[in-house]
Symmetry: C2
Subunit: 346 residues, 2 copies
Amino acid sequence: MATMKDVATHAGVSLKTVSRVLNNEPHVQDKLRQKVFESVKEMGYVPSTSARNLRSNRTYTLHLITENIEGNFINTIQSGALRAAQKFGYNLVPTLLAEETLSSPKALKAWCKEFITQKKPDGVILVPPHSDQPLINQIFNQANIPVSRIGPNDIEISDSVNVTIDDRKAAKEVTEYLIRHGHRRIGFVRGIEFHGATHRRYDGYCDALREAGIGIDENLVKPGQFSFESGMTAGKALLELDQAPTAIFAANDDMAAGVIVSAYMKNLKIPEQISVVGFDDSELAERIWPSLSTVRQPLLTYGEQAAEFLVGRAGKHRNEQDKTPVQTELLEYKIIIRASTGSVSH
Amino acid sequence: MATMKDVATHAGVSLKTVSRVLNNEPHVQDKLRQKVFESVKEMGYVPSTSARNLRSNRTYTLHLITENIEGNFINTIQSGALRAAQKFGYNLVPTLLAEETLSSPKALKAWCKEFITQKKPDGVILVPPHSDQPLINQIFNQANIPVSRIGPNDIEISDSVNVTIDDRKAAKEVTEYLIRHGHRRIGFVRGIEFHGATHRRYDGYCDALREAGIGIDENLVKPGQFSFESGMTAGKALLELDQAPTAIFAANDDMAAGVIVSAYMKNLKIPEQISVVGFDDSELAERIWPSLSTVRQPLLTYGEQAAEFLVGRAGKHRNEQDKTPVQTELLEYKIIIRASTGSVSH
DNA sequence: TCTTGATATGATAACGTTGTCAATTGGGTG
DNA sequence: CACCCAATTGACAACGTTATCATATCAAGA
């Protein structure tokens, strides 16, 4: 395996000159530059990442921090992040943190400390629900590690970059769509309570009802866990009400799929007797029958932008003074109307 | 940041002794061992991965090599691999290879060479369709990099470890299930042709028909791409036949979901008029209506075992002579009967 | 011609580990 | 008491880069 020293000897220059050429540093004659490049090619030289990492105190590694990488949501984000990271020669490493880190700040701090010293990430990507937590973001900031947060709740609190959509507005719009189609009794299925998205989407739902002069009926709001099963449970509860809703808005697609199944089990026709909308536009939305109306989040772009930002930051010299300003990428969402929604029949 | 040297000074021993203690090497007095551990704890020392990597010529990194990480199949495998890797302190890095590497051996070799020299993987996990290719496996073997293959076609060809189920037998069993329930015209939707699984499952389907004395009707076999859309197309084609099948076996769940939707579009009742089975037991299978009968592959276990094996291999000293013997982990599959299959009605 | 300052180049140190090998110690044996 | 083998310990080199600093070169100005 050829090293930089071999290349230097072959090209008749010093080690440092080769280093300069390969790192695009100035102060090298074009003639020597050429010669070095030729030697590199000729010897099939590939730099040693390990050596570079050690000396430069970097790892060329971004970490996607999450409790679980299963599921369409995180999977798609990861895919976007991976593409961007790989394009710039970075590794993207999914990293699982223990569940107790969500409830115990102490456990979180301990985990982060060990993680940082051991892995020396060049950047981290936080996804819900951890992107909602100010503390974890703060810990990484103090360690001077760039952070990208996806779908965070409070976009002002940190000097990370936030990549998100306007959940509340999207939820409002999709609720308005239902109202426009004659629905007045609209059920809502919440997500996990410590996910900010649960509250933002619920708020949007309320906004639309309020503006339409429809009172918020607590009976029409059911808890959920963002899971298919919890969607089934909530759907069943809503459909068994004395005054059942004519439409149900679930805070994500998995739960909406559960609602649809609960409707099938009651032999209700969708969308003739009950309209259903979800949120995310996951893989599932197009694969079920009837296909699901939903809100498309640009998940791939979330991942791409989050990673690209980190690469940009990591490339620069770390400087205690030079903190990142708050920066928020507010991406476009899109209401996707498919076959699971219809007009209310009088 | 405390280094090993600091720990050595603090404990009043040499650098090497600390190293020995931390690497669980013999030839250190218990007394000193204790002292070193105390100093490590006291100083909050964490070893530098970069330095260790450089010196030991390892990276503590496993790569999951694939064209695309999206989709339930690869996502679940990755999850299993990640858990196992992280448990042993390894990074799991998903790595995308260019699509042309499948058709061009030259491109594949070039890609692998650069990948190996640059990333110095401690082990690689190959998934379909690349796990079916003898060449890629051979390249890594020559570079002395341990390989785990998931669901490979030919389990004898290499000195990798293979983690798989008996696809053919599973496909046969599920077809037999349909036959037992009175089906004699059973459609089959193939997958991508250069995936070994496509052929293995088709062979199992044929085995069952042959043993039952049912001739194989070419009209009942349709091509597919393992995608939902291709399942819809194939389902439509099958259901429009003059002599339509009473059951359809799709080579994976995504296509089975497509078949189900194509049946809905023809107003057919499932399973009363048409039974559908898939393969994989993906997330989707339980979320659609009617829930899908299928074959469960232990995807999480695939990933876990593949990664665990690599960690075990990477730990040992690389030795040209000491090649891995062919080793195949044949895991258990399970036929899952849900609501999409029923008896044929006369 | 002599400075001067900018540009170009290289010698050498440094990063924090692990590997090699020599030195020291200790306990049993002749 | 001398001897030997094994266990213990440490000094130092090595991994392949990047960073620091000194030196060499050169064009322009005095």
